[in-house]
């Protein structure tokens, strides 16, 4: 690979990094793992005169959990660090499912979850579960820090709410609410290096013996990751059974806006979205302690893992 020429800075504090971005007037780029950025610089899809490396800022390398405020992930935390975190393993199983099915070992050793989010790809694998979890993004600029719900962050393929001088500094994931289960599924499943043709993140809350609130997020089937609101409403207050989940899967698929591309046709994506939603809901319901009548066993070839 031959890269275009740029200047490189490795600041030690968030303030220095923000000042570097602001001083460059839009011609500087934050640089985390570089797994998205370097191929794009190389192909000319992205131009930058200056790269601001975030990996030497100790504050951004931290990952923490607090029962009251939940999980805090610094912007330089790598995907592999997240998988190694006992708090994530114990309390955020759907995030483990999503990140362990993202890319390859080497890319997970390099790439960050913040980079996965900031890249703005509708296929980003860590995003559906973060949306289902109602994560917030802490964005820092010379004007100060603002907290944005991740659902408001994506504006279009490769387009986000980030200002050119703004840095994502932390991702906040609320503590796991009681009686809820989350799940992730993607296709192609477990052939790790493939970018998703469809991915889903779901939440099921248990209310007595029925489903309370539900959230369904689909990636790669629209210009941004989408919530399937009608399908969510159909679940609220319902007794879960195989037939209902079939219907909810189809309803969710009908709310998507997939495109044809090299990886899959729109029709195939819609069919698979229905299947993935159904399977992920079974896993999430089980994690929430809700029985699903006559459901096919979860966790088979489409990658809804238990």
């Amino acid at each position: 690979m031959s890269l275009p020429h740029f200047e490189y800075f490795a600041p030690r504090t968030i303030e220095e990094a923000v000042a570097l971005l602001a001083g460059a007037g839009g011609r500087a780029r934050p640089f985390a793992g570089g797994t998205d950025l370097l191929p794009r610089l190389q192909s000319g899809l992205v131009r930058a005169e200056t790269l601001v490396d975030l990996k030497r800022i100790p504050e951004l390398c931290a990952i923490g959990f607090d029962p009251a405020s939940g999980l805090t992930i610094g912007a330089a935390v790598r995907l592999a660090d997240l998988l190694d975190s006992p708090d994530v393993q114990r309390r955020y199983p759907a995030m483990t499912d999503a990140v362990s099915q993202t890319a390859t070992v080497q890319i997970r050793n390099m790439g960050t979850i913040a980079g996965n989010v900031c890249n703005g790809s509708p296929c980003a694998d860590s995003v559906p579960v973060l949306i289902a979890r109602l994560a917030h993004l802490a964005l820092m600029s010379p004007r100060g820090e603002r907290l944005l719900p991740i659902g408001d962050f994506f504006k279009g393929p490769g387009e986000t709410a980030l200002e050119p001088d703004e840095l994502l500094v932390r991702i906040h994931v609320p503590p796991p609410p009681p009686y809820t289960g989350f799940a992730f599924a993607k296709l192609p499943a477990r052939t790790a290096s493939d970018i998703s043709a469809v991915n889903v993140g779901v939440m099921v809350a248990r209310q007595g013996g029925v489903c309370g609130e539900a959230r369904i997020v689909l990636g790669a089937v629209g210009p941004v990751p989408l919530r399937a609101h009608q399908a969510e409403l159909r679940l609220a207050g319902a007794t879960l059974g195989a037939r209902l989940l079939e219907e909810v899967g189809r309803l969710a698929a009908s709310e998507t806006r997939p495109i044809d591309d090299l990886r899959a046709s729109a029709a195939y994506r819609r069919d698979m979205a229905a299947v993935l939603v159904r399977r992920a809901l079974v896993v999430a319901a089980t994690r929430a302690g809700l029985a699903v009548a006559d459901a096919a066993p979860a966790g088979d070839a489409t990658g809804a893992s238990e």
Partner: protein
């Protein structure tokens, strides 16, 4: 403007002045003469350029050398400890016929080392997941998986 960086590679210390847009792959191969690490796709897909950086397997084609300043690198040249014997992973690859053209081999062996350090006795599925980022156009993977199983058994007896 060139940056002066320090690297420890296979135990040897280097200080080099490099431009910030040079990749670790370029600096290892062109400046340090360590051509064991290969360059395949240059885009993160093939894994031929895999090295250990501070104990983790990374793609040297997507790593800026300047961002590795102060880092500890291990390449295929540093797998064997000493001149007498190859590393058990290398011996198992040779004995098991897991090398044909050999282009993927340095990256495969570094990925195998990363895997076996974290999972000394991996299952076949874990080996395949551990190698998902390393492509081989020749062998079809079965012999590579078998070689890593053999190396795993040997290394559990005599850690290396």
């Amino acid at each position: 403007m060139p940056h002066v960086i320090r690297l420890q590679v296979n135990g040897d210390r280097y200080e080099v002045a490099i431009e910030p847009w040079r990749t670790l792959n370029e600096v290892l191969r062109e400046d340090l003469g360590l051509t064991g690490t290969k360059h395949g796709c240059g885009q993160g897909d093939c894994g031929a350029c895999t090295v250990l950086l501070d104990g983790r397997s990374v793609l040297s084609c997507l790593t800026l050398a300047v961002s590795a300043d102060g880092g500890d690198v291990r390449t295929v040249e540093g797998l064997a400890q000493g001149r007498e014997r190859l590393h058990p992973i290398q011996e198992a690859f040779i004995a098991g016929g897991a090398i044909q053209c050999g282009y993927c081999t340095p990256g495969m062996e570094i990925s195998a080392l990363h895997l076996l350090r974290r999972r000394p006795r991996p299952t076949e599925a874990e080996i395949r997941a551990g190698l998902a980022g390393n492509l081989c156009r020749c062998t079809g993977y079965a012999k590579i998986v078998a070689a890593i199983q053999a190396a795993s058994a040997r290394m559990s007896d005599e850690p290396g």
